[in-house]
């Protein structure tokens, strides 16, 4: 199995509160994985673990078979719901930033020809997310949808192996959200991206994803609810994407479904 990203027996605990337990996942290159689940089921924790922002209490994460360093790196791009762009930089400079970091370790700025080349690349990327007439706007001058487009362009210019989206469209109007769905689908195809997206919106998860993961607690102890963590209770590969109606027939559970097994009630 040629998994791009492998999670092996991941546990995340905060103190004695167990958030995630026994998470085993293989994510193949080119897939679009949606993660859904109730609030507090560890969706964002899982994303932070993959991102390297958080170190799992137990378990290993392999990217291309190599263990991941326990910090963020340019091989994993990210778009958060908010605060993903730098408010003090224009759209163009926000996008160039990633190139500058790689090519100018000390000054973190490019000059002359190198700068023009980077600017051209950034403009190309901004054009592909539809921001070609907002190159010199600051984020504060942009709408929420434009800011998310910018955040995506900024991440994609580093050509990350995996793009992580943490409720990226949660704060947007429904109309804008539909535009963004079309955009992310097009980018996913054009750039052959591997995407992991956390969302609250089940419809969005099934519309966009090629695979939907549901995180929830398998077991529940009413006396100590924090002692059992969540894991992937459903893992649904979707055969025909962009057709939400087809998702039901494609929904065969590959993982055992012994969810919600209440334990010990005296």
């Amino acid at each position: 199995m040629s998994a791009l990203l492998s999670l092996r027996d991941i546990w995340v605990e905060y103190g004695d509160k167990i958030v995630l337990e026994r998470v085993d996942l293989d994510i193949e290159a080119g897939s679009f994985v949606s993660i859904i689940g109730p609030s507090g089921a560890g969706k964002s924790s899982l994303l932070r673990v993959v991102l390297g922002q958080e170190v799992p209490t137990r378990g290993t994460i392999l990217l291309d078979g190599e263990p991941l360093a326990p910090e963020c790196g340019p091989d994993r791009g990210v778009v958060f719901q908010r605060y993903s762009v730098f408010p003090h930089l224009s759209a163009l400079r926000n996008t160039i930033f990633g190139l500058e970091c790689a090519k100018a370790p000390l000054a973190a700025r490019l000059f002359g020809g190198a700068r023009r080349a980077a600017a051209a690349e950034a403009e190309e990327m901004l054009r592909s997310v539809g921001l070609d007439d907002a190159l010199h706007l600051y984020p504060a001058q942009m709408s929420g949808g434009m800011q998310q487009r910018l955040a995506i362009a900024q991440a994609l210019i580093k050509r990350p192996r995996i793009l992580l989206l943490d409720e990226p469209f949660g704060a947007l109007d429904p109309g804008i959200r539909a535009d963004m769905h079309a955009l992310i689908t097009r980018l996913w195809r054009d750039y052959a991206l591997t995407i992991i997206m956390v969302t609250h919106d089940i419809r969005e998860a099934f519309t966009l994803g090629t695979r939907v993961l549901t995180l929830d607690k398998r077991r529940h102890d009413p006396h100590a609810p924090h002692r059992f963590g969540a894991t992937a209770v459903y893992d649904l590969p979707l055969l025909r994407r962009t057709e939400p109606a087809a998702s039901e027939e494609a929904a065969d559970e590959t993982s055992p479904q012994d969810d919600k097994e209440a334990i010990g009630n005296g």
Binding site: G73, S84, F86
Partner: protein, 271 residues
């Protein structure tokens, strides 16, 4: 209409703001005239004419001993001390604030020390400064630096540490190192806050300047005020205080303007 909804128009606001100031000036003139009616030689509440006479001597006539124009020499000396002190404090606040704000190990190591230094009343250190650094310019500048720098450092460090975690993570996913995050993400966003901290530090900086000058100096605005106090020269003290107020307002305005010009993104650009 409720009072919370009554917004004055721009022209009205200037008028409204001017009224209390004018009333205070009128009150002063009334009281001064009253005292002068009773005693034409009164020194406690001088009339504008005598203030103008006293200041003209300081402004336009060279001092017979030193050959200097006293008012300008005082202003220059005070501004120089204030500028150097505030400059050093600002620069160190930026460097220390960035290091503490961005790098958790540095914060853990030096954060408590900074807190301890910040709670020491600077005036209590003035004797130590005079003993250690002598009575010259260094001690006065050092008092200003010690007085305002710790507060500014803590402010900048807290501001940088409060930058959204998402931004720092995003910068790392774009390949930024700690150094690059410091100079490209934290530094630019700390700058408007730094100018704001300077504005807030101006008040304490003047206090420490006047204190240092009052205790040991031979030139300066604070020195002059405390010197002529011996002769009850309210006709010099009042214009000097007004001049200090004008200088402080000008500096505050200049800093606000500089922040708006240099960092439009921090002031709701384009909205």
């Amino acid at each position: 209409m409720r009072w919370v909804n009554r917004h004055a128009r721009r022209g009205d606001r200037i008028f409204l703001g001017a009224v209390p100031i004018l009333l205070l000036v009128l009150l002063y003139l009334f009281l001064a005239a009253q005292r002068h009616a009773a005693n034409p030689m009164d020194k406690i509440l001088p009339l504008p004419a005598s203030m103008a006479d006293a200041m003209a001597a300081l402004l336009f006539q060279a001092d017979q001993l030193t050959g200097q124009f006293v008012f300008w020499a005082d202003t220059l000396a005070s501004l120089q001390r204030l500028g150097i002190g505030l400059g050093i404090a600002t620069l160190s606040a930026l460097v220390v604030g960035l290091l503490l704000g961005v790098l958790p190990p540095v914060r853990a190591t030096f954060g408590p020390l900074l807190t301890v230094v910040a709670v020491i009343p600077p005036i209590a250190l003035l004797p130590i400064l005079f003993i250690a650094l002598g009575l010259g310019e260094t001690a006065k500048v050092a008092l200003i630096v010690i007085g305002v720098a710790p507060v500014m450092m803590r402010d900048i460090a807290a501001h940088v540490a409060a930058l959204p975690r998402e931004q720092i993570v995003k910068a790392q996913t774009l390949g930024a190192s700690s150094w690059q995050i410091m100079i490209r993400v934290a530094l630019p966003q700390a700058m408007p806050r730094l100018l704001h901290a300077m504005r807030l530090a101006l008040g304490p900086a003047w206090v420490f300047l006047i204190s240092a000058e009052a205790i040991a100096s031979d030139v300066g605005l604070g020195y002059r005020i405390f010197l002529v106090r011996r002769y009850l020269s309210m006709d010099v003290i009042i214009p000097y205080v007004a001049w200090i107020a004008i200088l402080a307002i000008l500096m505050d305005g200049a800093l606000t303007l500089a922040s708006r010009r240099a960092f439009p993104w921090a002031h709701g650009a384009g909205h």
